[in-house]
Symmetry: C2
DNA sequence: CTGAAAGCGCTTACAG
DNA sequence: CTGAAAGCGCTTACAG
């Protein structure tokens, strides 16, 4: 308080936060009354409106903020909902994070998201940390080992739900990857129904064959070729990983001349494909991409993109948080196909 | 435990999480010993390695996870660091979120990020909520009213730091928007040093004139024109807002013929510019954009992008969390200019 | 080398 | 209409 102080004091005095005891003293009432006024249960306790007003005013004046740690410790439910996700910095996961927070808040829940870089160990540690934070429910988004997390949650009495990638030990909400991929493949094949290209198979590039979503998308890719009666040689399926560089390398190594149409399995992969195209301007092709990005949509040669229905998936997730669903439940949400101009 | 139970029981019995008391009983020791073994202070307490091992083993077997709410309540510092940010779903904010989490974790802090949609009220409520969660420090990223948050934090004894947009009541870390904009403008002007376009001013589009960053970028835009001796008419500066549609409308309304070069103030604005271009293919122009996006970088006509140094900014932020910096401090971090192909 | 005890700031039956 | 009291699960001086 000594504004002219020039002594050796190193730390600012951290003004102690007021507690309900401080407020009770200032209001000339009891901590119980303050607590119930501040947490909204005062009507049930039949506290007079006059006292409630007085307490609220004092709380406001003092800049009171409840100590949620103490509150949660005492309560049965924390009203905290946790989510782990692999990355923030692409449009799909960014949209999930943003909408998840909005939906949680609309339900009076406090959302805590943490991002785990697709590293299985970090994923599990993050899950453990969120359980330590007393989350009522944990959403595992795109987790590499969702079942391990579900088991840990179950042991701790915490509900868990899988999003984007399915698991077998908790209910799962995923895109209908098969239908989305099939429809995108159809779009591409129709494009090449012109006499010159007719009957040519496409090239599938990107993702991991071991991952459920990529496997489903390959299945859809194959189904559309079958519909069109176009034979699909196995070398036309290149699940070379997600990194952009992997896609460039795979295209460099592709033995024969490149097909006229590419099914690109993610926007990350697409970055590599486009870089390869820049190095090989003579090899014209068009492409479609599984996942949406507004700038990628503007690229020449882009025939269509598959936008996953983030809002639909999250609505289902929140529906599941409110019910006791079977771990076997696997909800598939249809994707949205965005038809684009093409013309590489 | 009755696996064959078929009675009317509606709720699963939520297995009560083990506490240090449970572990102490199982290990035949005291809760204090368990606590110190689990939180790593056991060496200081000279607890035998044998007992420590036994306790750790039992904790593992029981799937013990500390109750952080209880732990934080008792401790002086929470080791929680909070961040509010406007959006997740663009590359700039996505990168900030991702790197912020990684850096926090590396320092043994628990990061909690919450996204506030550029809504001042939500922003303040989120800040209050994070203070309730006992954050030791709050980072306000791109906040519309950082000073209100800083004041609230100060009253609660919580340190705060501004990122991306500066404030006057807490130390700030922002990009050197002036120099970044000046350099990008130079890049564009050099491009048009060819006889045909020589002496033509550029068009600045997007952002809000009231916001510090946009004002600084306009200043840099003007400075580069002055350097080149090119007069800049005021109508060539269009801070029409951030939304893509606003940019489209502004270009539609632009009175005279469009300049050959555009300074686009954000990737959001760029979406609108590109849509306008698609509707007006005859009006050729090249552009530069403040902010980085890997797909936007691939667009034809893109002469260069300004990438903000997220890693550099965050390093500075964490440096500031460890010191008692003046609220007047305003650190400017240089941007990275990405020169691109151009040729719309 | 180890334990008993106080207390962090709340919430909520319980008793007027 | 209101308050005293117990207790959530920890941590940490303090006392052996």
């Amino acid at each position: 308080m000594d504004t002219g102080g020039s002594d050796g004091q190193k730390e600012k005095i951290s003004p102690k936060r007021p507690t309900i005891y401080d407020l009770a003293e200032l209001a000339g009432t009891s901590p119980s009354a303050v607590s119930s006024v501040l947490n909204g249960t005062w009507k049930k306790r039949r506290i007079s409106e006059k006292l409630a007003k007085r307490i609220s005013k004092i709380a406001e004046e003092q800049g009171y903020a409840v100590n949620i740690q103490a509150s949660v410790l005492r309560r049965v439910r924390s009203n905290i909902i946790g989510m782990i996700m692999p990355k923030y910095d692409n449009r799909y996961f960014g949209a999930i994070a943003e909408q998840f927070e909005a939906l949680a808040r609309a339900r009076g829940l406090f959302p805590v998201i943490t991002c785990t870089q697709r590293e299985p160990e970090l994923e599990f540690e993050a899950a453990r940390e969120l359980v330590s934070y007393q989350v009522d429910c944990l959403i595992s988004t795109g987790a590499t080992d969702p079942d391990r997390i579900s088991e840990f949650c179950a042991a701790a009495g915490v509900r868990s739900i899988n999003l984007d990638l399915p698991g077998s030990k908790a209910p799962s909400v995923v895109s209908d990857n098969f239908a989305g991929a099939r429809d995108l493949t159809r779009l591409l094949l129709q494009r090449f129904a012109a006499p010159a290209a007719e009957g040519q198979p496409l090239l599938f590039i990107g993702g991991r064959g071991s991952d459920h979503n990529t496997a489903e998308r390959i299945r859809g890719f194959e189904a559309a070729h079958a519909e069109f009666g176009i034979p699909l040689p196995p070398e036309n399926i290149l699940p070379c990983g997600y990194a952009a560089q992997k896609a460039e390398d795979a295209l460099d190594a592709f033995p024969s001349s490149l097909p006229a149409g590419l099914f690109v399995n993610s926007t990350i992969t697409l970055e590599g494909v486009i870089r390869w195209q820049a190095r090989n301007p003579s090899r014209a092709f068009e492409f479609g991409c599984f996942d949406w990005d507004p700038f990628a949509a503007l690229l020449p040669g882009n025939v269509g993109m598959v936008q996953q229905d983030v809002a639909g998936m999250l609505a289902k997730v929140f529906e599941l948080t409110a019910t006791e669903a079977s771990p076997d439940l696997n909800v598939e949400i249809p994707c949205i196909i965005k038809r684009l101009g093409g013309q590489g």
